[in-house]
Symmetry: C2
Subunit: 243 residues, 2 copies
């Protein structure tokens, strides 16, 4: 893990930018931390630079509760090399959405499954590196981002103890089956009127999760309309499971 | 309003049993109240005596946050006179459930609609009396109980500012249409595996509510398995809207 820059934010949070191999990422460490802090991995839809304002806000909120937080760029997003197949799938999706046509399973699979295959091992490698740092310890949570990545991580990564999912991105149909293998505590956010999200698919996915403790929070409005109070609810969810 | 008994609970809450006409009820006033307290009306499925332990627990939780709480017996429940039609509908429901048959709309209508017709004016009369007490003031919330009663109250009673609903009892199909007229902030609890509750109907009802702010909290388990943390979530919902 190469540290590329480090700065202290005004609320005392230490923001450390890093690369691990060719993966860029950011780690935030609470200013108040005396013992190793539990860690929340922050998912996002790709494009670290564009997402930074929202990510740092989420990291500060986590830090205020004593958690470190970390995120990495997704494969094929931001400054990372594009994949021709992924670009083609995105272009096909854009065409279909602009034409007002339904998004086929085939496009969703082409768009999401290769991303899951690449992103999940990267998250795991980054987790190895983060957990070896003296500032980080204790349980790990995962929050937000591409829900299919979170589902696969929840299945394969035993070091993740709880996940806060956002039913706001396309889900390959095969992931609904895969979700049955998930057993960790979940809180799932669903924006009821999310134009880019199939509500029934999201409810089927919620139903499929094998977790004994899973909670769905559905709110009105579109993709970016998640109410402010859900941030606090997310912190309370992690407080129940990571502390 | 006739006070029939009054006692101070160990946490300082004043519990006052009353009758209004032939309606028995209970009012709980926070021990710490100096100013008139906002009020939460506690719904329940009927049978005040049997429901008392759960009701007093909910009232204490509300009192700890500074709310007065009140409940009344439902028409035809507890010590109140039975209605022959309601008893017949209950017997028909029991037969259908024991036979493992689906519950028809006709039975649900016979069971619930007359109850709504009787209970809602009673709640409103009791609310008149409660709001005339010096200990009670400020906004009013409604929590739990027969969801069809809560829907009708939310439509007709402008003094109710927010409602916490429990999608755990039968809903006449006509109430889904009626729900479109509801505009107050709602939080709806749904037990995902509630054997006595039609999940799709509950989701349709949630979808129908006209409220701009409505949140669905779905959790695993059956009717009585609502997780402990939903009590705190309910308090926070009311804190956002009644304070």
């Amino acid at each position: 893990m190469q540290i590329t820059s480090e700065q202290r934010l005004d609320d005392g949070v230490l923001e450390r930018r890093f690369t691990l191999g060719d993966i860029p990422g950011i780690l935030w460490i609470p200013g108040s931390a005396s013992a190793p802090a539990p860690l929340i991995l922050l998912g996002h839809p790709g494009g670290l630079h564009k997402m930074y304002p929202r990510l740092v806000a989420r990291a500060r909120r986590s830090a205020a509760e004593g958690y470190a937080a970390a995120t990495i760029e997704l494969p094929g997003s931001g400054d990372r090399p594009r994949s021709a197949a992924a670009e083609e799938a995105r272009a096909d999706l854009r065409r279909v959405l602009e034409a007002g046509e339904p998004v086929s399973d085939e496009i969703v699979d082409r768009l999401v499954l290769p991303l899951v295959e690449k992103a999940v091992p990267e998250w795991r490698t980054v987790l190895d590196a983060l957990l070896s740092l003296p500032e980080i310890g204790g349980p790990v949570g995962f929050a937000g981002g591409v829900i299919a990545i979170a589902v696969r991580l929840a299945v394969v990564e035993p070091r993740i103890s709880a996940a806060l999912l956002f039913a706001g991105t396309f889900v390959p149909r095969s992931m609904v089956e895969e979700a049955r293998q998930v057993t960790l505590p979940l809180q799932v956010l669903l924006q009821w009127d999310d134009e880019g999200n199939d509500r029934h698919m999201a409810l089927d996915l919620f139903d499929a999760f094998g977790s004994k403790e899973k909670t769905l929070h559905a709110n009105m409005g579109g993709h970016t309309g998640v109410p402010e109070f859900e941030g606090d609810d997310g912190n309370r969810f992690f407080a129940r499971h990571l502390k």
